[in-house]
């Protein structure tokens, strides 16, 4: 661990205008870029979702041909996963990690610039692919062979985009790991550092372990498409099921790449607004690690209908259920943190509590799906769609909203509008459930996912879901307005706007100085990064 005594990025002036962003190396600038990029992608993917819900408002074909509909579902998934959620967490990590652990910046500032600026071209490739002959990829975000080995050049563009985003996220993860392992200020030991740092560290390892596997498998698709290989071509001795095995070896850990940072964020916000330390800090660290390890052993629970031997089904079923144990530990710890706390309900807290409740709903439907016999019935139905939107929208997305509201004063130096924030929360909470809860019923009744048309008996629940989706989407403009308004007009924020906040970033003035901890402070730290004493630490 390093005592940082140099001031290599010290005194030069802050660059202005375009070059400040294009050549950005400051972790705060890059974090801001990541966050705005992911919000743009969130709106883009959201518009696609509304396209899907518009078509599904009524049975029959109203707006899109089935092919375009499939392109919309595919790109909605890809953009939300790789363009919105993952970069948003990386952006949060960029902004917050150096402040939380007392580092001057991320370890590799120039590489950090590259990891961000690879993303917009990749996103552009995905969006442009709608305009090429044959349209965008329409095999679903999982890009299953043999569909993906057959489609037009939209699939090639998608594969390139995945390569680029993969490289970006791997570089971002290397930066996060090196920063956390090598740049912590004296006193900030691993078993004391804040949960968000722990979650980011473990997530970064997951990304380094599985993004290359995704890159590998889509490369095989590419060579099958253009270079005469037969990895997934039955005629050439290959096997389409093999694609699923390799893809889900990436795919299940990916689920936790999108969930663990959310766990970290919530583990900051609940203690702050309950004005109590996080319950069971050490068990939180171990639970997060064991979730990450177990996530490598459960991939085939996505493949119960591929004709696996019963023994394999049982293994993957029990292994999957096992993950509910560490996840349950976390939920228990969060509830215990709230227990007898003196709780106040500011917007970040509302989103965090909404997260705990709704993520648990999604977790429970996940346990339901882990039962092989049940999954065979529900595979590819709307029940699955409901399940993963509970963990990704009410899980990952709600945690991100919570994080933006919670750290907005530190990032911008201004307070957001509490009134609009609360409106945004209650609006999102209600319409989220109106959108996605009926999908459980649709799935149980047998409605398959990824279809533009459906049997008449599914109409009313689909109408409810579509109305919910449009209202939910509209509500996100409240968030955008709140952020834009508060950036200019919000009340000036004190250094520590939340009474119960005790991690290192709240020791800095608001907004955080452009060059913070140029000299590392000497820290006395309690569990979950609580600062008991601090000496030194120089900012510019």
């Amino acid at each position: 661990m390093a005592v940082v005594t140099d001031t290599e990025q010290g005194h030069h002036a802050r660059p202005r205008g375009w070059s400040r962003w294009l050549a950005a190396t400051n972790h705060k600038d890059i974090g801001t870029l990541y966050l705005w990029f992911s919000f743009t992608m969130f709106l883009t993917g959201g518009v696609m979702a509304l396209g899907i819900r518009a078509e599904l408002f009524q049975p029959g074909l109203q707006f899109w041909q089935p092919d375009l509909f499939n392109q919309l579902t595919t790109l909605h998934g890809l953009i939300m996963v790789f363009g919105a959620i993952m970069p948003a967490f990386t952006g949060m990590a960029n902004w917050l990690l150096p402040l939380m652990i007392g580092a001057p910046d991320m370890a590799f500032a120039r590489m950090n610039n590259w990891s961000f600026w690879l993303l917009p071209p990749a996103a552009l490739l995905l969006i442009v692919s709608f305009a090429v002959p044959g349209g965008a990829a329409s095999a679903g975000w999982t890009l299953y062979a043999p569909l993906s080995t057959q489609m037009g050049m939209g699939m090639d563009l998608t594969i390139f985009a995945i390569h680029i985003m993969g490289i970006s996220s791997i570089m971002g993860s290397i930066n996060i790991i090196v920063t956390i392992l090598n740049l912590r200020a004296p006193g900030m030991t691993l078993m004391k550092m804040p949960m968000f740092a722990w979650a980011s560290l473990i997530t970064a390892y997951l990304i380094i372990a599985v993004m290359p596997v995704l890159a590998g498998v889509v490369t095989m698709v590419l060579t099958d498409r253009h270079f005469g290989t037969h990895f997934f071509n039955a005629a050439g001795g290959g096997d389409p099921v093999l694609y699923q095995h390799v893809f889900w070896f990436f795919g299940h850990p990916e689920v936790y790449i999108m969930a663990l940072p959310a766990f970290g964020i919530v583990s900051h916000i609940l203690p702050t607004f309950a004005r109590k330390p996080l319950f069971g800090y050490a068990s939180m660290v171990y639970a997060t690690s064991s979730i990450a390890l177990l996530s490598f052993m459960v991939w085939a629970h996505h493949m119960f209908t591929t004709g696996m031997p019963a023994t394999a089904q049982l293994f993957f079923m029990y292994a999957t259920m096992l993950i509910a144990v560490p996840t349950g530990v976390k939920v228990f710890n969060w509830i215990a943190t709230l227990w007898q706390g003196s709780i106040s309900f500011e917007t970040p807290m509302l989103f965090a509590i909404g997260f705990v409740c709704l993520f648990t709903v999604g977790g429970l439907s996940g346990v339901t799906l882990s039962v092989a016999a049940v999954d065979i019935q529900l595979q590819d139905s709307y029940y699955v769609v409901a399940h993963f939107h509970y963990v990704l929208v009410a899980g990952a997305l709600f945690s991100l909203f919570a994080a933006v509201y919670y750290w907005f004063p530190k990032m911008s130096g201004r307070m957001y509008s509490e009134r609009l924030g609360k409106l945004h929360f209650w609006w999102s909470l209600v319409w989220f459930n109106v959108t996605f809860f009926p999908m459980h019923f649709l799935g149980l009744a047998g409605m398959p996912r990824r279809i533009p048309d459906y049997a008449l008996q599914f109409t009313s629940f689909n109408e409810i879901a579509s109305v919910g989706a449009f209202c939910f989407g509209l509500g996100q403009l409240i968030f955008l307005y709140n952020i834009l308004w508060s950036l200019r007009r919000g009340d000036p924020a004190p250094a520590k706007p939340w009474e119960g906040a005790d991690t290192l970033e709240w020791q800095l003035p608001s907004p955080a100085p452009y060059h913070s901890f140029v000299e590392a402070p000497e820290l006395e730290v309690g569990e979950n990064g609580a600062i008991r004493g601090m000496k030194g630490g120089v900012h510019h």
Binding site: I174, P212, V213, G228, A234, G236, L242
Partner: protein, 179 residues
């Protein structure tokens, strides 16, 4: 610690992590042979190999099974594939021989590979094939017409409840082969 020591510690860790990423990329490719070996050893996905006869062939006693034969061709290919026998009844354990006729109706040489499929799928492991044109790729000159035997028996261990089995072949083009 001074700036250059810190820098080199960071770079050393960067190299290790980049190596992990590269190894995992290699691992993805390594999964292909690994899965192949697993399928081989456990016999999970044994489509293109003759089954062992063993003792199973004897002990023909159970009630007859209705066998249906079928074939499809991957869309856009010039093959015509049809079974010469549509249906027959056979006792489990009894050897059955049927013939398929395959025609290359196109004007170019083609190489195809037939993949068997069973209905119900669970019956697949009880159909023991001794000879099949699906065991290897087949090359056809333009207009060529050939007949192929399929020799198999139904394992007497077939569950009582299954008394009808459909054996269907899909013929795929092998890309990069043929002219």
């Amino acid at each position: 610690m001074r700036a250059d020591t810190r820098r080199s510690a960071n770079l050393a860790l960067l190299k290790k992590l980049a190596l992990i990423a590269l190894l995992m990329f290699g691992f993805a490719w390594g999964l292909i042979p690994i899965y192949r070996v697993i399928c081989e050893v456990t016999g999970i996905n044994q489509l293109q190999r003759a089954d062992a006869v063993g003792k199973a062939a004897r002990g023909a006693a159970a009630a007859e099974v209705l066998l249906t034969f079928d074939a499809t061709v991957q869309a856009g290919l010039p093959w015509q594939v049809r079974p010469l026998t549509g249906q027959l009844r056979a006792r489990p354990g009894e050897f059955v021989k049927v013939e398929y006729e395959i025609v290359n109706a196109g004007a170019r040489e083609v190489v195809g590979q037939a993949i068997p499929r069973y209905l119900p799928a669970a019956a697949g492991e009880y159909v023991k094939k001794l000879d099949c044109f699906c065991f290897k790729q087949q090359a056809f000159a333009p207009g060529e017409r050939r007949r192929f035997p399929v020799v198999f028996f139904v394992d007497p261990a077939l569950p009582e409840a299954v008394r009808e089995i459909t054996l269907s072949y899909t013929v795929f083009d092998v890309p990069g082969k043929g002219a």
